[in-house]
């Protein structure tokens, strides 16, 4: 998908509607974390700068911060993850973490597209 971008930290951004982006984590990240037991969601209305931690995902092995690759304001969160953290594994459509209204969509240019991300994964252990 041309409107889906990836980061080296395995976050995924899907441009939904103009300047609103859906934030989540990639299948690689889910696999590395193992079964998730808790997702700490941001609050609607909270503002984040690019690179800020906006959520925490916790598995039986570890807890990992999730960083937003774009600056903006959270407009919606996926409440379902409160009761069903495992939903994050289904797909980005089901298991997205939050939606953010971007303040600077040029920040997307620095991110990888799917092909570049897959190439990047090849370089990892």
């Amino acid at each position: 998908m041309a409107d889906t971008k990836y980061t080296k930290d395995h976050e995924v951004v899907h441009i939904e509607d103009g300047n609103v982006a859906v934030l989540g984590i990639t299948a690689y990240a889910q696999d590395a974390l193992g079964d998730l037991v808790f997702v700490e969601l941001p609050e609607v209305g909270a503002s984040f700068e690019k690179g800020d931690e906006f959520a925490v995902v916790e598995s039986v092995k570890t807890a990992a911060e999730v960083y937003t690759p774009v600056s903006g304001e959270i407009v919606e969160i996926n409440d379902r993850l409160n009761d069903e953290p495992e939903a994050i594994k289904i797909s980005l459509e089901e298991g997205w973490i939050a939606k953010i209204r971007m303040t600077d969509d040029s920040e997307l240019d620095a991110l990888m597209d799917e092909a570049a991300y897959n190439e990047y994964l090849e370089t990892l252990d």
Binding site: V37, F38, K61, T62
Partner: protein, 532 residues
């Protein structure tokens, strides 16, 4: 369901296949929930028998019950006789695994033998029966003991200011970082220095401590070499200020949690000091250095010492921790109080705010875990300076022996030699498909089956599937060889394709494979009578 049926159900639930319980839901339970002499232990509440009270006291007359009449009913305190309650706790204790049971190679935890001479001395009535509120003149011996412990810790770390009060390692970290913050406050720089640098291999308590102290954590990557490099450090130091003036300090464990000595540490400490930051060293791994290297000599400003690791006081459920901190002369005025001092007449006293006006204050009641101070000093004196040096030498030797024996069977991400612990991963045990993988968790569970406490798993976080093995110096070569044989056997079974068994271990432990995910998602945190 009655209490007896409960026992039976529990026994069945735990797959204790005993013919006497197998097919009877209603008949008498003959085996008391046991298999041979191993009991399936219940909660005391489930054992409650109202006709066998533990104590038989008359109802108080003319005054209300302390817990209130009705409340006492609600609380439903279990009524069990003295032998019942004694057996309950003795049986529970047999389900535990401790350093006194067997080898306990839990990396980063330094599960070494606690010499019994320490226990003997801690039980001397003059130490065991004093009260922290006694007049100082009546506890001069105890104060002298703490004074001498402070002195030896200062000698071993080359950090002259010592405070014994922190009650555990993480508490020591907090005390240490609060001391640094207090120093920045005194210099008027607390508002501008807001960042603490921490490598990604750190113990989780390090970033937690920094955040509690109001700092922002900046992580330094170490994945490439397993070590902190000067370049990576300086990149982090100067990231948002060309002179690093927004950095309050760094928190580094040396040797680090991969079991490697931070070889760039002197240059890193110099750069940090030039920028005005302080170097906090996590003392968790001091067992690798004690008697050999003084942390003050490689630039440390503050360090906590886990008496319960390096100086062998009981821990891991066996006793309280104790986390004294040692600081440079420059930081000494800011230490928490009280600190033991000696006056010009040779009497010992607890120095408080009056003589230490710049102190950050009191962190807890009294002067720390005194019983642990006795044990730690006994350990130091029974070893002597040469003995302590041998402690670290043998701790490092033992870890390197294990590493050298396992390096062909398990993936070694960072070449040795290691320090007091060695790190391997489960990379070589990966299968063709994910279902075939024998993971670090599977290997740990297999060790339980084979009668060993597992190593530390999935820590440090720098790489996936890490296993951190810390044998400590107190194990014999024979013990290490047996452990190595088991680890090699596991690896050879995996190579031979006998992978499935590893997904079902342990089979013989009091509990089999637990559902960790369910336990985390739907934890049962307390028993309620509804469950009866």
């Amino acid at each position: 369901m009655g209490a007896e049926l409960h026992m039976m159900q529990d026994a069945k639930d735990n797959q204790m296949e005993d013919s006497q319980t197998e097919d009877s839901q209603t008949g008498p339970v003959l085996n008391n929930g046991t298999r041979a002499l191993r009991y399936e232990e219940q909660l005391l509440w489930e054992r409650e028998f109202h006709d066998t009270p533990g104590v038989d006291l008359p109802e108080p007359q003319g005054m209300p019950l302390r817990t209130g009449d009705a409340l006492r009913e609600d609380v439903g305190l279990p009524q069990v006789s003295e032998p019942e309650v004694l057996r309950h706790f003795v049986r529970l204790s047999t389900l535990n695994y401790s350093i006194d049971h067997g080898f306990f190679p839990l990396g980063s935890c330094t599960m070494k033998h606690n010499p019994r001479v320490n226990e003997k001395l801690a039980r001397l009535p003059g130490f065991a029966h004093i009260h922290p509120m006694q007049e100082e003149s009546t506890v001069q011996g105890a104060l002298e003991l703490m004074y001498r412990l402070q002195h030896y810790l200062a000698e071993l770390t080359a950090l002259p200011g010592v405070c014994l009060t922190p009650a555990a390692g993480a508490h020591g970290e907090l005390a240490g970082m609060m001391t640094i913050r207090r120093a920045h406050e005194a210099a008027g720089e607390n508002e501008t220095r807001k960042i603490v640098l921490i490598p990604d291999s750190a113990h989780g308590t390090n970033p937690a401590t920094a955040v509690i102290c109001g700092y922002k954590v900046r992580t330094i990557p170490t994945k490439e070499t397993g070590r902190l490099t000067q370049a990576a450090f300086e990149e982090a130091l100067y990231k948002t200020d060309p002179d690093g003036k927004d950095v309050a300090g760094m928190m580094v464990t040396n040797p680090n949690t991969c079991g490697l000595f931070e070889s760039d540490i002197v240059g890193i400490a110099d750069a940090l000091h030039a920028a005005g930051g302080y170097f906090y060293c996590d003392g968790a791994n001091f067992n690798a250095l004690v008697g050999k290297v003084r942390p003050g000599d490689f630039g440390v400003d503050v360090m906590h010492i886990n008496l319960h690791k390096t100086f062998s006081t009981p821990h891991g459920g066996g006793g309280p921790g104790s986390g004294p901190i040692c600081v440079t002369e420059a930081l000494e005025p800011y230490l928490p109080i009280p600190v033991v001092e000696q006056d010009i007449n040779g009497a010992y006293f607890l120095a408080r705010e009056k003589s230490r006006p710049e102190t950050l204050g009191k962190l807890r009641g009294f002067v720390g875990q005194f019983g642990m101070h006795v044990r730690a000093l006994a350990y130091m004196l029974s070893h002597g300076a040469d003995g302590l040096k041998e402690v670290s030498e043998n701790a490092v030797l033992n870890a390197n022996y294990i590493l050298s024996q396992l390096k062909d069977d398990y993936h070694v991400p960072y070449d040795g030699p290691c320090m007091h612990e060695c790190m391997v991963t489960d990379k070589l045990q990966k299968g063709e498909t994910k279902d075939d993988d024998v993971t670090t968790l599977d290997i740990a569970k297999a060790l339980v089956e084979y009668g060993y406490h597992p190593m530390t798993t999935y820590f440090p976080l720098v790489l996936p599937g890490t296993m951190l093995i810390e044998p400590t110096e107190t194990e014999t070569k024979g013990t290490l060889d047996k452990f190595i044989t088991v680890m090699m056997h596991i690896a050879s079974e995996v190579r031979a394709g006998n992978r499935d068994q590893f997904h079902h271990y342990p089979q013989s432990a009091p509990r089999r494979r637990l559902d960790e995910v369910k336990a985390a998602r739907h934890p049962v945190l307390r028993w309620s009578s509804d469950q009866a």
